[in-house]
């Protein structure tokens, strides 16, 4: 199935860009059944093959685990698919430049045109607001639902000291957003340091954000990423 292959492409592409390392995961809502989603079993994303992809229900339970362990944090995905019917793809990641924003009072703002979606607002979720003394992982449906609520209608949510979860209406858009979220964070940090405290930084305005988000699906990039991964898989 092309969609399953695309999920392999997404997993390996995210790893290649350093947005995820051995941790983090991408998923897609099932194209044939909106009450189901697909994500890999518990394996490092750069090793994922089509055989590793499991089907889960919206309670994040595997339909047939095939003897394989699912990811602990699958509840992030199931609960967001429940809450956001239009969302077709999700990426949970630990990208390095984003974490510092999740731990300070500076919010991400849209500084780079490829990252215009940042202008739709990126809230920060602190797991402590849902439960004290966790190991920081979203291990239950309750925690997943709490995160999904914080995400609201936004395209992404930062997770304090952990990373982020990014959503979209299709998989290329979710992958592109995860990659360009990290780049926006790096450019914004750099601009803030250049500008100094109180200095001017020019961000995209609302009308620019809206015009860009209307169509930006990272299509040319997706064709490149798919070409690369298919070449890898043939080796």
């Amino acid at each position: 199935m092309e969609e399953i292959l695309d999920l392999v492409v997404a997993s390996r592409t995210l790893a290649e860009h350093g947005v995820i390392d051995a941790y983090g995961h991408a998923s897609i809502r099932s194209p044939s059944n909106p009450q189901r989603f697909h994500m890999p079993r518990n394996v490092a994303p750069e090793l994922v093959t089509e055989a590793d992809i499991l089907e889960l229900d919206l309670d994040s339970e595997p339909i047939d685990a095939k003897g394989a362990a699912p990811y602990n944090e699958r509840f992030i995905h199931g609960e967001i698919y429940k809450a956001r019917p239009e969302v077709m793809a999700i990426v949970h990641n630990h990208s390095h430049a984003v974490v510092p924003f999740s731990c300070t009072d500076h919010e991400l703002k849209p500084i780079f045109h490829m990252s215009a979606f940042v202008g739709l607002g990126i809230p920060t979720w602190d797991i402590r607001d849902a439960q004290k003394g966790t190991d920081m992982l979203v291990r239950t449906r309750e925690l997943g639902a709490h995160l999904a609520k914080k995400l609201g209608a936004h395209p992404a949510v930062l997770m304090r000291g952990h990373g982020s979860t990014v959503v979209a209406e299709n998989l290329p858009r979710a992958v592109g957003r995860a990659i360009y979220l990290d780049l926006n964070a790096r450019m914004q940090s750099q601009a803030m340091m250049l500008a100094g405290p109180g200095g001017r930084v020019a961000y995209m305005d609302e009308s620019e954000v809206a015009a860009n988000v209307a169509w930006q699906n990272y299509e040319r990039a997706w064709r490149l990423w798919k070409t690369r991964v298919l070449a890898q898989l043939r080796k």
Copy 2:
């Protein structure tokens, strides 16, 4: 044609250096007809082959699109070739260290001898001065002409929240300038942070800039880049 192969070399070299990712593009003015230019069809630069190179007129319309989509932002190239008869090559890119300068009040200055051309002045263009509410892309001849006017006689123009466009009298010089513009931005940021607010940073002076720019065509580097890409293409 050697010039078309060189454009393939340029595209892949820019991608390898991270100056462009799936986005950004290089072009050359046609060596046989100054009213035409060549650039790839809408494909990621690291995948470009000679077969992907289209010929366009100075209104940025393909002479024969061969059924392929051109880049949305081809108007950057056509309008600059119109305005600057001596320009033979153009690189439009999103290099990461440059964007923060385009969003703050700190201008780029020539800190590194390989980037001496920065001393010829690098203005910043804000698309909002031409049109409000765009998606930030240079999608029309009008926007291209507005950008070309801001570029004026300079070797490059920053584009707020977007990247830069770099021009030169030959392709190796345009590619080298795109690569060393990014490096100058990184070194300048670092020097500014070391020096602290109000601290001294020694830049190249005008006479040094002039002496360097007179001859700097990045020839040794170009031979290296071409060697690398030809080896890739043979694989």
Copy 3:
């Protein structure tokens, strides 16, 4: 022996992640004799093969040097194995982001959930407190013992102007901790700069640290790293 192969995997993985370059070393306590440990002879970690692994006693003397020179700093390992009976694996490294913390008054704090162990406390050892005028290397049992004392019951100790030494109850945990210590340092630096002097940075709290440290063995990552190194060794 699987444990010896795993030490090869650890050495090469640490080099691949840039946590060690030609310098730095990993060791394991002998699974059959707690009074012995294994570490490579004096060779760059990315070149280590099973044939390079020596067995040493807890005074850090090779049982059979096979004509090969041991590492000068083997005393780091022997003295910690003496002092900490539960420690089964040790990584000594020079990871780049950690050294600046060893030279300033800012201590590492747990900012990233994969680096929760930082919350158990990371003291800094200054070799000058043990001996003046050294070349900075832990070349004697006395220096090793002094370092082990500073380490105390902690999971790692920074070494001023040098790097760090990380310990754990098993090898995957020691390797993972070395890699994520560096990442924590990078994220913490970045967050401190974003927040500015006196600004808020949210770190993991004690209960979160405890819950995470209880189980975090970097198992999925270890499977990835081993897969990669085995593929290298087969080439």
Copy 4:
């Protein structure tokens, strides 16, 4: 001749570490004639083979150019070999983290034990003190001699807005120093930013520098670098 092969190893190793790109060069004093030295013809260091190595006299003129162009900046090497009889190897480079130090009033200090030689003092040369309005290149014997005078008895000299030149009693030491000079600059920048204006940064003291410099020849690293380059050359 082993020494010529070693110069190939050095050139490619410096390129691989990003200390030089298409520019920069390494040389050795001739082992058989102290009035001669060897360096590559004008070619990018990562492409250098034994056939590219020229022999030059101490006025930096090729004994037999074999129809090949020498590097413009060969005078850096000849004039230093004249002034410093004990120097057997020289590396001229543009490493990125070093240039910002050459343009500000902050001097490099020894923060990392692998870079102890920094503690012997690294002066900064400004070409404007020798000649105004140059293109920044050391194109004459006079400029080379002026640089050599600034270098004095030190292990390296920064060149304002350009890079540095590093010398040593043998080639592995010169290569290692060039690589670790860059790393020291990165760590020192980071520590200075962590500490803030006026904050404490602990550097190596004089006795530590002396003890380390006495023997540090980067031997283990050299064996690694040579292994890697020989594998490349066999391909």
